[in-house]
Symmetry: C2
Subunit: 248 residues, 2 copies
């Protein structure tokens, strides 16, 4: 029975894609069958593992999901690519619960083929993110250690609580991850303290430091483990992977 | 007759709000009557100048826009605050051209009161951004010097060209701004070269370096000029302001 994580935060540029890609790669390298799903119309997660967007998103189609999963060059890691046409899905997700039901049916059909499924969401608190949350078992929130990132979290928690209420306990908190952590900045230390005071144990002990290897890797279509295996970024996502496995 | 800039990029966290706030402050300090409009439901621009979100966005209301403009503590700078409820506007903007017509009517009613109007847009290429573009005279695109930021630009240019075609030359390119520029990084230099090769003179000569003052200022509800007037960030936005004034 797969653990399905939605990686969400309506604040832009906080590390959702970087976390989805590198955490799913670490989980796969640790021997877990893992599926990375890209539902952001920007298709950054798809490009980051060296693939191309699909003409039409498999989650909107009728054929079995397994047929659309792409094998990546990371052992145990499959990719369901994003589609730039996903804008139409946003409208679909808005109009009724049909999108949620379809997404859940698709995910239920592959739940037994994977131990971990990670869904990279777009920077919006809209219907697409809500649909992903409804189909997930855990929610992971990357938070950049900067002021604007904190402001939006309260609004995001509201959306998450709403979905938790509507799905009878299926969705739980998977964790909050502090990203782009620069311990030499006072602002980083302040945000760290505020987030841990407010959210307690939900916050992962491991943080992800700012590391240029994490922003260079995707331009080569590689995970940080392929691009710079001895970097601080690779070490941080390995540590995070261990912590996620321990929380099972 | 005001120059109306939409500050757009569907990629998240590239510096749209930081640019909208600090460029409008610099234009106001240079003696131009300036209006900053926040249409992002995150309301970051509103918080960055020390104000609070509105219960209902003035652009959705019937009363004259002038009545909802808030005076900030920056001389010549007015703010039309954002509203967290703007999610409903996204649906409204989706459904028909009614939102565009209303927004244009509102902006036309204040065009003569200001020399510059800047609209801070959310990280989405959706209808809300398209509505703002349709009501604007210029489009400004901040681009972070990182790989993902480049990937989405082609898609964004497509949306902009579509609006340009539909508004008979009202909308022109105001400029492309390179943000979070770190000249010690090879990736930054590569992106700089790619963007200037592709877009030529549209790209501003001035770039905005990475400067922690720019991410600390909003947590105090201040512009970078109030928070750290001698910082590299303040200098960069002053230089950008001069370049925008010269392009008139
Ligand atoms: N720890 C880090 N150190 C340095 N750069 C990072 C780090 N994490 C992410 N980045 C870079 O910061 C930028 C934003 O990260 P990313 O695209 O993963 O965020 P996102 O939340 O997915 O953005 P969006 O809201 O657009 O989906 C990217 O260019 C990425 O390469
Ligand atoms: N030149 C810079 N140097 C350092 N930090 C910066 C710079 N510009 C912006 N920032 C910080 O980076 C983060 C992202 O910037 P900002 O919020 O302006 O981007 P945005 O494009 O408006 O994001 P969103 O897509 O969520 O609307 C913020 O925390 C901001 O303070
Ligand atoms: Mg992303
Ligand atoms: Mg913003």
């Amino acid at each position: 029975m797969a653990r399905i994580f939605s990686v969400v935060n309506q604040k832009g540029g906080v590390g959702k894609t970087t976390t989805s890609v590198n955490l799913s790669a670490a989980l796969a390298m640790a021997g877990n069958r893992t599926l990375l799903i890209d539902i952001d119309p920007q298709c950054n997660a798809t490009g980051a593992v060296g693939s191309d967007p699909a003409a039409r998103h498999a989650l909107l189609g009728e054929s079995p999901l397994g047929e659309s999963v792409i094998v990546t060059d990371v052992p145990n890691l499959g990719l369901l690519p994003g589609s730039r046409r996903f804008q139409d899905a946003d409208v679909m997700a808005n109009s009724d619960t049909q999108a949620t039901t379809k997404l859940r049916a698709h995910l239920d059909s592959v739940m037994d083929d994977y131990e971990y499924i990670l869904i990279d969401c777009p920077p919006s608190a809209g219907a697409m993110t809500e649909t992903a949350l409804t189909a997930s078992t855990e929610v992971m929130i990357p938070i950049q250690c900067e002021y604007f990132a904190m402001v939006g979290v309260a609004q995001l928690i509201g959306t998450i609580k709403k979905v938790m209420g509507a799905t009878d306990g299926r969705l739980t908190f998977g964790g909050i991850l502090l990203t782009m952590y620069d311990e030499s900045l006072e602002l980083t230390r302040e945000i760290d303290e505020d987030v841990r005071d407010f959210f307690g144990d939900i916050v992962f002990e491991n943080v992800v430091p700012r590391d240029v290897a994490l922003c260079e890797a995707p331009s080569h279509g590689q995970t940080v483990f392929q691009y710079a295996p001895r970097s601080r970024g690779a070490f941080a996502y390995t540590q995070l992977c261990m912590e996620v496995l321990q929380r099972d």
